[in-house]
Amino acid sequence: MLAVAHLNVWYGVTEILRDVSFDVPDGRIVALLGGNGSGKTTILNTLTGLVKPRAGSVLLAGEECAGLRADQIVRKGMVQVPQGREVFQSMSVVENLEMGAATRRDRAELRAGIEDMMGLFPTLARKSRQRAGSLSGGEQQMLAIARALMARPRCLLMDEPSAGLSPVVVDTMIDAILALHRRGLTILLVEQNVGVAAAAADSAHVLQNGEIAFSGPAASLLDNPEVLRSYLGR
């Protein structure tokens, strides 16, 4: 579904990503792990069109996405769930979902999409008219996911969905990710939390200093002392 090949990104004179290549097969969850400054966020920003790569390609179902505008990439079916509960705080839950479908015009489809999300996230259904800023951290994260799903993505990019959440809420989040997986969504899960990646993903790549330093099955991450120590600082 998603094939990233030989991606090179520079900020001014600094090379941030060096020859990064990885695939996210159709219907799979692939985790991208790494500490602060490893280049995770730059990869996401490049995939979503916020940053233009100097070289390399990003193919989504065979179509080139590298260098396109953010809205064009959303239309092609790759949508990011941003980190840090970046919902529209001053708008209601329903309005947030409407904005998630900003690239779609069919009103019947919009209503169906909102109903679908209310079914998938019953907590949001109970608070549909509430301002997003008044929701709890976990609920805002759910809303950010639901908002991204409103664009009907083929590939979902999740930026640290567990960040800043309590352990109980993190478990709910993992369940939600697995539920999306069962719906057939292809997911790139960017995480710092190895536990979350191991629990949800099929395979994993570890980034260090802008390069992929380790690739393997996600379940093997927790058993690999070298990965834990060298790349993730455990």
Binding site: V74, E86, V87
Partner: protein
């Protein structure tokens, strides 16, 4: 006396509120104060003058045309003074809008200047005052208040009900998240400039029959509208309306009871007091944004 002053204060205040709404919508969307906003008001007024007085078109047609042209010139402001500098620092952006305001003033002086110092805009309805007990009402005042209320209502509906209005709200709330859901934020900024200028033009058409038009009227109006916007918290639309009314009424009362020379400065005294007591303005956010 009091009744008359309050009524005339509300009339000018309602128009200041419209100017303030334009300042706020651009500020909310782009984080920049458009210093050319007053001159967009002035151009709107002169266009209406051209359509109505010089070309003889009906008042409502002139209003519609001036508002449409205002929208277009607002979009031009975005193209000329904002978009090329979007990634520049705030000072450059503000200076660009100041520069654009001088261009608009220059155009107005060369097109409409020289013919007369002040241009009279005929009133829409009978200029004879209505006596209501001790209250003297000039009918055009009611037209201005009613018109301003209609424009404000349309403006609120635009934000709450239309797709582009909601996209503007989303972009003002969180520009990065707006980009990630596929909203073209550059277009949102463009519409913010357009809508702001269209509202300013409508204020000019409502105000012109009450005052006189001259190419330098823009800056005076901008200062009043900006004061109203700051008073309301700079990013609050209801705040802009309340701020406009407060500035208008205080100005009328100060001019009537203290001295007419206080008319111009009274608004600033109110702002200074409010900003000392409540720096975020009347409706500004009090909570520090969590990061």
């Amino acid at each position: 006396m009091l009744g008359y002053l309050v009524l005339s204060g509300i009339t000018t205040g309602a128009l200041y509120a419209l100017v303030a709404l334009g300042v706020v919508i651009v500020f909310k969307a782009t984080g920049t104060v458009n210093f050319a906003h007053g001159d967009l008001f002035m151009i709107g007024g002169f266009l209406a003058f051209t359509f109505h007085v010089l070309m003889g078109l009906p008042y409502l047609v002139a209003l519609a045309l001036a508002v449409a042209a205002g929208f277009g010139i607002g979009i031009l402001t975005d193209r000329i003074a904002f978009r090329p500098l979007m990634r520049a620092n705030l000072v450059s952006l503000v200076l660009a809008t100041v520069g654009f305001s001088f261009i608009l003033k220059g155009i107005a002086r060369s097109v409409w200047g020289g013919k007369a110092d002040l241009f009279a805009f005929p009133p829409l309805i009978s200029p004879d005052p209505i006596f209501l007990g001790p209250l003297i009402i000039i009918p055009q005042q009611l037209v201005a208040i009613g018109g301003a209320a209609l424009v404000m209502g349309a403006f609120a509906a635009f934000f709450r009900l239309t797709r582009i209005g909601k996209m503007m709200q989303a972009t003002a709330d969180n520009p990065k998240a707006a980009t990630l859901v596929g909203i073209r934020t550059d277009r949102v900024y463009m519409y913010a400039f357009g809508v702001g200028a269209a509202v300013a033009a409508s204020a000019a058409v409502l105000m012109a029959p009450l005052t006189l038009l001259y190419p330098d009227i823009g800056f005076v109006l901008f200062i009043k509208g900006f004061a109203a916007a700051v008073l309301g918290g700079l990013s609050s639309l209801p705040g802009a309306v309340v701020g406009g009314l407060v500035v208008g009424v205080v100005e009328a009362l100060a001019g009537g009871y203290i001295n007419s020379s206080f008319l111009e400065v009274s608004a600033f005294v109110v702002i200074m007091v409010v900003l000392v007591l409540r720096p975020t303005g009347l409706f500004g956010a009090t909570a520090v944004r969590r990061v």
